[in-house]
Subunit: 170 residues, 2 copies
DNA sequence: TTGGAATGTCAACAACGCTGACATAAACTC
DNA sequence: GAGTTTATGTCAGCGTTGTTGACATTCCAA
């Protein structure tokens, strides 16, 4: 709790929350929290030889059914080669369906099958349960702040993708 | 912005922030924000054939100089074999020093060399810069909420490790 | 002093990032 | 319309970093 920085005499509002010490705590909190964030889905996934990449693909295909591979690429921020491996296994296992585009035959449109939807629900439920507990613990005001900081932490293009998804009610 | 859940008539406080829709937005925000969170250090690391694992090791050795391999394992939550590979390269490259324990010769105590400290500072500065900008954008109240939700999201044992680190002023 | 527990190392494997090379389809140029 | 360029998606191979299994060393306790 020691502060090495001088008190800010130039502002009516204390800037103590911007000290290196406070920032370090935030960084470490982010690290540990993200582990908790992914822990429950990870446990489910490892039973079926899938990983986090499969979860992400399933999540966003569910969010935007009919999306193209290229679209998904932009959202996930990985290379198409990397995504392709994941998609191939999901298609082989009958969780995802890939339909050739009608107007542009180069494109593949992606959909979850019933089996895929079932897994998505299972993963989402697990992740939401933890999130709900955390939200409930922290209360609505804290949640608003949480969201505000997260959004400020994103890269500009990621914030774009996020905002588009956020304001979409499927 | 549509809500499928009934309004909570049983509570004075609105529970709308606990709807599945709100939770999903939080989950996606967490996903995108974490990418931003690691983006700057990642760029530095890839220049020198290191990865995120090296960053984590360096960070926590800096936080707790003299820590043992076992200790680090518990904090990082990986297997010792995985950590060992990372530590070996860091030691070979002269960023980390490993000293055999005096009271228990099985243990190895880990320290950053000057070179290691230099890299740590470079990585931290990059990460803190983004964090500081996000904090500044969001304001002190939002930051308090951010921290509150993150802490509630951790696993119990991770919260232990975090709290111990948080309350340590090196 | 001997057997078991704890600590750390070495070897091999899987998930999932990456780049490079390529096939196909569409779009653009002339 | 023919040829070139651009866009989309697939296949092959590599690196980082997670995993489990086997093992050497050290400590401790029966």
């Amino acid at each position: 709790m020691s502060e090495i920085r001088p008190a800010p005499a130039f502002s009516g509002e204390s800037l103590l929350f911007l000290t290196d010490e406070q920032l370090r705590q935030g960084i470490e909190a982010m690290f540990f929290a993200y582990r908790g964030f992914t822990a429950d889905p990870d446990r489910i996934l490892e039973q079926m030889a899938y990983g986090r990449a499969h979860h992400r693909a399933i999540h966003f295909i569910n969010r935007a059914p009919g999306t193209t591979v290229n679209n998904l690429l932009a959202i996930l921020g990985v290379t198409k080669q990397s995504l392709n491996r994941v998609l191939r296994t999901l298609i082989e296992d009958g969780l995802v369906e890939s339909r050739v585009g009608t107007v542009d035959k180069r494109e593949r449109h992606l959909f979850l099958t019933e089996k895929g939807k079932a897994l998505e629900t299972r993963l989402s439920d697990a992740q939401r349960a933890r999130m709900r507990a955390a939200y409930k613990d922290a209360g609505p005001e804290a949640v608003a702040g949480f969201r505000k900081v997260l959004e400020a932490m994103m890269d500009a293009d990621m914030r774009h993708a996020y905002t588009k998804l956020r304001d979409t009610t499927s």
